[in-house]
Amino acid sequence: MSGPVDARAVAETVTDPELPMLTLADLGVLREVSEHDGRVAVTITPTYTGCPALETMRDDLRHALRDAGYREVEVRLALRPPWTTDWITPAGRRKLAEAGIAPPAAAPRTPSAGPIPLALGSTVVAVPCPRCDSTDTVELSRFSSTACKALYRCRWCHEPFEHVKEI
């Protein structure tokens, strides 16, 4: 180890700007941390192309690593393979649920050949309420306070809640 603290361990403490209960590692956007002669290269991947949190993630990683004593920090971007909610770790899913945000189910597969099917009508799998576990919930909006979440309401406990939508 050439730095004062293991660079990966430092990068893994950085949290997501919009889902602060999760680290970037929990979210699955932290792809690679490599260290050579005190220089650190971190590779991250954006959740959504237009996600404005990406710049903050880059800065937060640079700050955390510099505070830990690394003078040269490079944050790289990997677009491919694209981020999927399947990369959110089990710990990340638990933390989301504890914060009242329903974690995503398995992401739909993009077919490699043939058109991408368009689902008309209600084919959305029931999302369990993170407060009372009821599956009697209804989607209010596919889009919510951030690009990655949808807005739901529980018909049983009547509470609204957010759901990290499968992508």
Partner: protein
């Protein structure tokens, strides 16, 4: 890194450009390994990136104009989020154009300092804001076409186009679902909502033909497996829309394609009257205060 006080974060002595401070976002493709395919002309690739990037940029701008004007808060959020996704796609594509033509121009140079005739978007996305049904119609047509295009573009020989497409496919699939939901709800709703939906579709339909008319640059790059020839997308587009129209109990409009100007249209930089006003609004601050940061 967390700060208790937002101003402390902005004034952080440790310098780096923070998002929304100076808006010096930097190259969004920084650190991406992105050689130009060796057999491809850099100017052609740049022009193609501008075509797909300008489609997204102009559509995003029109969607942003719906902020505070949507019928319900849920739709306000949806429209803004769709606009944000497209803006993200535009940023990467415009940046890639600056790499491909070797000019080193940034996304801001392309967005804010080009004249109307240098924009290469299709004319569909230019129309001034109409009613909500027209928005649903425009978004259905646009996202159905763009999803089919991006899906094929995931196989592109240009690694950046392939990556942007792979990411975009997931996003645009949600956009299409949202638009289809509203076309069905309004078309199969009350007599009045149906009337408005049909009027919205009739407004949009003359611009559909242009989406599938290949430009010579698209044809050239398609031969190298870098671009998608849009004429190959029509069958999928028609099939998807037939399903939506059947569920919405509407019959697709019959309208002749809008004329070109001596065979030239949006991809050649020939635009509609609405485009000049749109660009004036988009570029006003950047033109009035060159190099300003905030």
């Amino acid at each position: 890194m967390s700060f208790d006080n937002a101003y402390e974060a902005l004034a952080d002595a440790d310098d780096d450009a923070r998002w929304a401070y100076g808006m010096d976002c930097g190259d969004p493709l920084s650190g991406l390994d992105d050689p130009i395919p060796s057999d491809v002309d850099g100017d052609d690739l740049a022009a193609y990136c501008l075509m797909l990037g300008d489609d997204a940029l102009v559509m995003s701008h029109r969607l942003q104009q719906w902020c505070t004007r949507a019928p319900e808060i849920e739709d306000e959020l949806a429209i803004a989020n769709i606009g944000l996704d497209l803006l993200g796609q535009a940023r990467l594509l415009l940046t890639r154009a600056g790499h491909a033509d070797g000019s080193g121009r940034t996304e801001d140079d392309y967005a804010y300092l080009r004249d109307e005739s240098e924009f290469r978007n299709v004319r569909l996305v230019e129309a001034a804001r109409g009613d909500f049904a027209q928005l649903a119609a425009t978004l259905l047509v646009f996202s159905t076409w763009r999803l089919a295009l991006l899906h094929k573009l995931t196989e592109s020989g240009d690694p950046v186009l392939a990556a942007v497409a792979a990411k975009g496919v997931k996003e645009v699939a949600y956009h299409r679902e949202y638009a289809a939901g509203w076309v069905i709800r309004l078309g199969d709703g009350t007599d009045y909502s149906r009337e408005r939906m049909l009027a919205g579709l009739a407004e949009v339909w003359p611009w559909v033909g242009e989406l599938f008319t290949p430009h010579e640059i698209e044809v050239r790059l398609a031969r190298f497996g870098v671009a998608v020839d849009p004429s190959t997308l029509r069958a999928e587009f028609d099939a998807v829309l037939a399903g939506v129209f059947a569920a919405a109990t509407v019959v697709p409009p019959e309208a002749p394609a809008m004329a070109t100007v001596s065979g030239r249209a949006g991809r050649d930089g020939v635009h509609t009257e609405a485009m000049g006003y749109l660009i004036a609004e988009l570029q006003h601050v950047a033109r009035a205060y060159p190099g300003a940061t905030w």
